[in-house]
């Protein structure tokens, strides 16, 4: 723990030094603003000169053509500036041609993080670890067809593994119907589709336990097809996604990438609302059904029900998600309920250009003793953290966690640090 505190202090000093070295942003902004104003004036002048020979008709009555003052001085100036104006016109046309859509237009973005952890749990060691290196690919293949891919590189004690996290091809008919095929983040609840592997995107260092990468509680990935879109609903801002896929594989934390292990398809449905009058709010509910088949021949029906509420504007930020996973064994008919939820609150402080965001998360997860699919996942945890956005695309995060697992076992306290970024 002491070592952890020393590292925190070093990071804080480094951040402070970096801050001190940054150029005065307000001065630069003023200069750019002045230049832009100058450009605006010149453009206006050019527009006046252009409008002089003949003003074409206007498409909307409210639009008035710029007045063309018959001023001999202006005429002379126009004659003088014509060559440079022609050159500007050519440059603009070239820029326009460059910005017109070309297909395919592959864009690559990466996410990465570096972590430090120190806990008082017996048998663990403190130290640094390399988080995920995540590459995200997006490419429009035509105005209505897009491809999205995501790959991660993960550090393990003896090697690195490469994982295809998502690979999706999507066909848009319109805003109300888009159909896609591939490997997804299962649209259950909020967090799993909102943040997933990009640690920089999420306020906290890690994901909540109910949607933990490599965890078993929620099936994180889904292989199949998905229909999604908006629902015409006026101010309610409703949207949906409905999918059919392979469901959990032999290892229940993984989807059946190479094929399903039974003849029963899993399905998922998610409905959410983003009310127009409460801009920033999202509320939603999801259901997921699957049949789980183990190698020893045991079969379980799985029902997951989930609800979420998210206020994402940052001042404050509020995320809450509740899930219940129900398992019923086919042979014995024994049914178990596994509830889990988290509530996270954060507030972007008004000082230091809103770069600091303290946050708190409470997590709860319970598995009953007769649960046969999950091993025990019991958890009650509180997380206090601070996020500092050192730039638009990089952040430092510090967390103190206080967690208890099984009754009678000691509580675990830990200090966690992370720098995460996108590039």
């Amino acid at each position: 723990m002491h070592r952890g505190l020393v590292v925190t202090a070093m990071l804080a000093l480094a951040a402070g030094a970096a801050w001190g070295q940054s150029p005065p942003a307000s001065e630069q902004a003023e200069q750019v603003k002045a230049l832009l104003e100058r450009v605006e004036q010149l453009e206006k002048r050019v527009a006046e000169l252009e409008a002089r020979p003949a003003a074409p008709s206007v498409t909307t009555a409210a639009v008035t053509a710029p007045s063309a003052a018959p001023n001999p001085e202006v005429q002379q100036e126009a004659a003088k500036t014509e060559p440079s104006h022609q050159m500007e016109g050519h440059m603009d046309q070239a820029a326009v041609r460059q910005m017109e859509p070309h297909y395919p237009n592959l864009q690559i973005r990466g996410f990465a993080d570096m972590d430090f952890s120190a806990t008082d749990q017996k048998g663990t060691t403190s130290g640094f670890n390399l988080g995920q290196l995540d590459l995200h690919l997006a490419s429009a293949l035509s105005p209505k067809i897009s491809y999205f891919g995501e790959m991660t590189f993960n550090a393990h004690p003896t090697n690195y593994t490469v994982e295809v996290e998502r690979s999706i091809i999507r066909y848009d008919y319109n805003d109300y119907f888009k159909i896609s095929f591939g490997r997804y983040h299962t649209p259950i609840g909020y967090w799993n589709t909102a943040f997933h592997h990009g640690a920089w995107l999420e306020t906290s260092i890690d994901r909540p336990e109910i949607v933990k990468v490599g965890g078993t509680f929620t099936p994180i990935h889904f292989v199949g097809f998905l229909a999604e879109g908006n629902i015409p609903s006026g101010g309610a801002g409703l949207g949906y996604s409905v999918g059919v896929g392979n469901g959990r594989g032999d290892t229940i934390s993984r989807p059946g990438d190479a094929g399903d292990n039974n003849n029963n398809r899993a399905w998922v449905a998610n409905v959410f609302a983003r009310p127009v009058k409460l801009y920033g709010l999202q509320i939603g509910a999801s259901v997921y059904r699957d049949k789980i088949t183990f190698a020893d021949g045991r079969n379980f029906r799985e029902w997951i029900t989930s609800a979420h509420l998210a206020w994402t504007r940052g001042d404050p930020e509020f995320l809450a998600e509740f899930s219940n996973v129900n398992h019923r064994q086919y042979f014995t008919n024994v049914s178990t309920n596994n509830p889990g939820f988290y509530v996270q609150m954060g507030y972007r402080l008004p000082w230091f250009e809103k770069t600091l965001k303290p946050y708190y998360r409470f997590e709860y997860l319970h598995t009953p003793q007769n649960e046969a699919v999950f091993t025990n996942l019991d958890l009650v945890e509180s997380i206090f953290g601070l996020r500092y956005d050192i730039s638009s695309y990089a952040a430092f995060k510090t967390e103190y966690r206080h967690a208890s697992r099984l009754p009678g076992t000691p509580t675990i306290n830990g200090l966690f640090l992370q720098t995460s970024f996108t590039f």
Partner: protein, 169 residues
């Protein structure tokens, strides 16, 4: 249900209730407006089949929640580069985000596979004008004094730039 679980659920209910209350209070705050200046016109390619949008509809378009004017015509978003007043107004009144939040919003949007491309950044009114006239489905935001012939100006909440109660200024 054990007393501990009951207590936990009660705590959850209390937290959710407080959060709902906070959300409601925050939404009642007056929407962000820039210091009073000239109106910012919403202009589209003349072939775009809209002439009147509510501010909420404009927000949906800018947030990438509405990506099609109709099933044959995708929306092409054009936004001025940082420091331009048009951008300030769009960020403050419509997005209600800071410059950083806006950038992060679009990184996240594409990461979630909800959009394939971010808005196109334009550096001058000339460039904006050329693009809107050349690209079907294009929508841009222009200082109302600089609107040129050949563009279709949209009513926002039933008002044109220059009229009282026009929301983009």
């Amino acid at each position: 249900m054990s007393p501990t679980m009951k207590m936990t659920y009660k705590r959850l209910a209390a937290i959710l209730w407080t959060a709902c209350l906070m959300c409601t209070l925050v939404s009642w705050r007056a929407e962000g407006q820039t210091s009073r200046g000239t109106d910012i016109a919403v202009v589209v390619n003349p072939d775009t089949p809209v002439s009147d949008l509510s501010l909420a509809d404009v927000r949906k378009v800018l947030l990438g929640e509405r990506q099609y004017w109709n099933s044959k015509l995708p929306v092409v978003l054009l936004i001025r580069a940082p420091v331009a007043r048009e951008r300030d107004v769009v960020l403050k009144v419509i997005y209600q985000m800071s410059e950083d939040q806006f950038k992060q919003y679009w990184v996240a949007k594409i990461f979630r596979a909800e959009a394939a491309t971010p808005p196109k950044i334009v550096y001058s009114n000339d460039m904006q004008y050329e693009l809107v006239t050349a690209m079907p489905g294009a929508i841009a935001f222009v200082d109302a004094r600089n609107v040129r012939p050949g563009l279709k100006v949209l009513r926002v909440d039933g008002h044109l730039p220059g009229e009282a109660n026009y929301p983009l200024r």
